[in-house]
């Protein structure tokens, strides 16, 4: 009997990678059909973003910047939606810029879904989409020195001077808060280096899980007020503002997939143990 178990473990330990792909595929697909609803606990980093946004008094000016594309939409879009919901419930004024060309499409989808359909706000008074400008960090530096030089018109072609909420908003210093929804370069790091640090305007960010590691030292040294890390970060923020969305439904699939990977690693190690012990015997 024992022999059979060892042989089974050995066969799992040296399995062809395509079986792993199949198991991972199922581990992600099945929970989408049969959700489990596991509990979600907010980590310190997500809590700090929530507090930073909650502290803003009503009608303060918030700059939200979209720096992600279609390939990173599943991770970052739920965050952007949650942040916009939180800002609009606290009746803040939202100004949207984009450092990525695709970011403008994402911003348009998010704003139509939340600002127009859900909150019924008026464009130009409660929120404005300034849109995409090429030049990577040059755009951030341009916003710090003079917005009107960079954005003579907003994304819909109306002149900036004719937009009521743009009155006496000339540079980043006039904003009370910055939130960068970023998936790479240009993104959070450029906002820290060229905007938050020099002007001192408080800033938070939401990034893909993999970019969190780049940004963590900035969060740890206080240059960035907390961080929403990947889809779990989005799910935690959705739980904090009490409106579960795409982030939450994805979490069950995450848990199962992680468990499967951990099991494969454990089996892989057991096989490794048995084989090295056998090799020593011969």
């Amino acid at each position: 009997m024992m022999k059979y178990i060892i042989e089974l473990i050995l066969s799992i330990g040296k399995v062809d990678r395509r079986w792993i792909f199949l198991v991972i595929g199922l581990a992600v697909l099945l929970p989408l059909f049969f959700p489990l609803g596991l509990p979600i606990r907010a980590t310190t980093a997500t809590q700090r973003v929530y507090d930073a946004v909650e502290e803003l008094e009503p009608n303060s000016k918030v700059l939200v910047s979209f720096e992600y594309g279609p390939s990173t939409k599943p991770e970052i879009h739920p965050m952007a939606i949650a942040i916009l919901r939180h800002l609009f419930t606290n009746s803040q004024k939202v100004y949207v810029t984009c450092l990525w060309p695709d970011g403008q499409f994402m911003a348009e989808d998010a704003l139509t879904e939340i600002a127009e359909e859900e909150y019924g706000l008026t464009y130009g008074e409660d929120y404005v989409l300034l849109g995409f400008r090429p030049g990577n960090e040059a755009v951030v530096k341009g916003l710090v020195s003079n917005i009107r030089k960079l954005y003579t018109t907003d994304a819909r072609g109306t002149l900036v001077d004719q937009i009521p909420m743009m009155a006496n908003v000339n540079k980043v210093k006039d904003f009370d808060f910055i939130f960068s929804a970023s998936a790479g370069y240009p993104g959070t790091i450029e906002w820290v280096q060229y905007a938050a640090d020099p002007t001192g305007v408080p800033m938070s960010t939401g990034t893909t899980s993999i970019q969190v590691n780049d940004v963590m030292p900035y969060v740890q040294s206080g240059q960035v007020k907390g961080i929403l890390a990947g889809m779990p970060g989005a799910a935690e923020y959705e739980a904090l503002i009490g409106s579960p969305g795409i982030g939450t439904s994805g979490m069950d699939a995450q848990s199962i997939a992680h468990l499967v990977i951990v099991l494969f690693i454990v089996f892989g190690n057991i096989t490794y143990f048995i084989e090295t012990r056998r090799a020593k015997k011969y």
Binding site: R17, S71, G184, Y185, D197, P198, T208, I210
Partner: protein
């Protein structure tokens, strides 16, 4: 001598009210000048024949082995200079390392395949590879299309390189430059075709993937030291010695600012180091 003169000139300029100089960035100016002069000092020292002992970096020794192995197996060497353009220092370093690898493939007469993601990198890569083949006396072996353009898009490039790997089955895959999320796609495909993989990058987020999926990885600063190791040129080795000195400076600066912070907290000195270090 020159440094003394320059320092004197700067002090005079500073005392004369330093017109048109942004004072708030004085820290950066001092940091740049001190560090640059250390580097120049050690480069000059090396030029005058000073020998420096350098520790061995396994990844770099493996480059020659990998090219040798591909020659035995009669398979091409695949070289990926990162997906960013020449406006990133890592890409420039990647192209320079391509020069050294091209010398090896010229010597061993191995076929070299360099798919690139940016056109300027294609031009620079061709210039440097042609130069290496000519210096090894084998200009006949070099064709322009060894360095060929695929696409500017990150994932289309990854898909294209995957295709090349699976169909041409190179024996050695070298990834030297700046990478983003596609690093693991390349490394896993390279592993599935059984190639020796050596990666070098300073893209912090991608180093863990290369460490797990590749045989050798040059981590951050080791990647920048590669061109010095491969060329063994005295001035580049001197530069490395200079870099070590900079690391000593930074360690000292960390400890110093730690104590200064303690003193200012306890009120012994009124001046806080933190705002000294914050550069607007």
């Amino acid at each position: 001598m020159v440094a003394g003169g320059l320092a004197l000139a700067f002090i005079v300029f500073w005392l004369a009210g330093h017109p048109g100089f942004r004072e708030e960035r004085i820290v950066m100016f001092l940091a740049i000048t001190i560090m640059a002069s250390t580097l120049i000092y050690f480069i000059r020292l090396a030029n005058r024949g000073e020998k420096f002992h350098l520790r061995s970096i396994p990844g770099l020794k493996a480059v020659e082995e990998a090219v040798g192995r591909s020659t035995e197996m009669g398979k091409p060497v695949l070289y990926v200079p990162g997906i960013m353009d020449m406006d990133q220092v890592e890409t420039v370093a990647g192209v320079i390392i391509l020069g050294h690898v091209a010398k090896m493939t010229a010597r061993y007469e191995t076929s070299l395949n360099v798919p690139v993601s940016r056109s300027i990198v294609m031009k620079a890569g061709r210039e440097i590879a042609r130069e290496s083949y000519t210096m090894e006396g084998r200009p006949d072996l070099f064709q322009d299309d060894m360095v060929h353009y695929l696409t500017d898009d990150q994932f289309a490039y990854a898909a294209g390189v995957n295709g090349i790997m699976v169909r041409e089955k190179p024996a050695a895959c070298l990834y030297m430059g700046k990478f983003y999320a596609e690093s693991l796609i390349l490394a896993e495909t390279g592993n599935s075709i059984g190639a020796i993989q050596i990666a070098g990058t300073a893209s912090q987020a991608q180093i863990p993937f290369f460490v797990t999926a590749c045989d050798y990885t040059l981590i951050g600063e080791e990647f920048f030291a590669a061109s010095a190791y491969l060329s063994q040129k005295p001035e580049l080795l001197g530069g490395l010695k200079g870099q070590d000195m900079l690391k000593a400076f930074v360690t000292a600066a960390i400890l110093l600012s730690l104590f200064l912070r303690v003193f200012s907290d306890l009120g012994w000195i009124g001046w806080n180091v933190i705002d000294f270090l914050t550069v607007q």
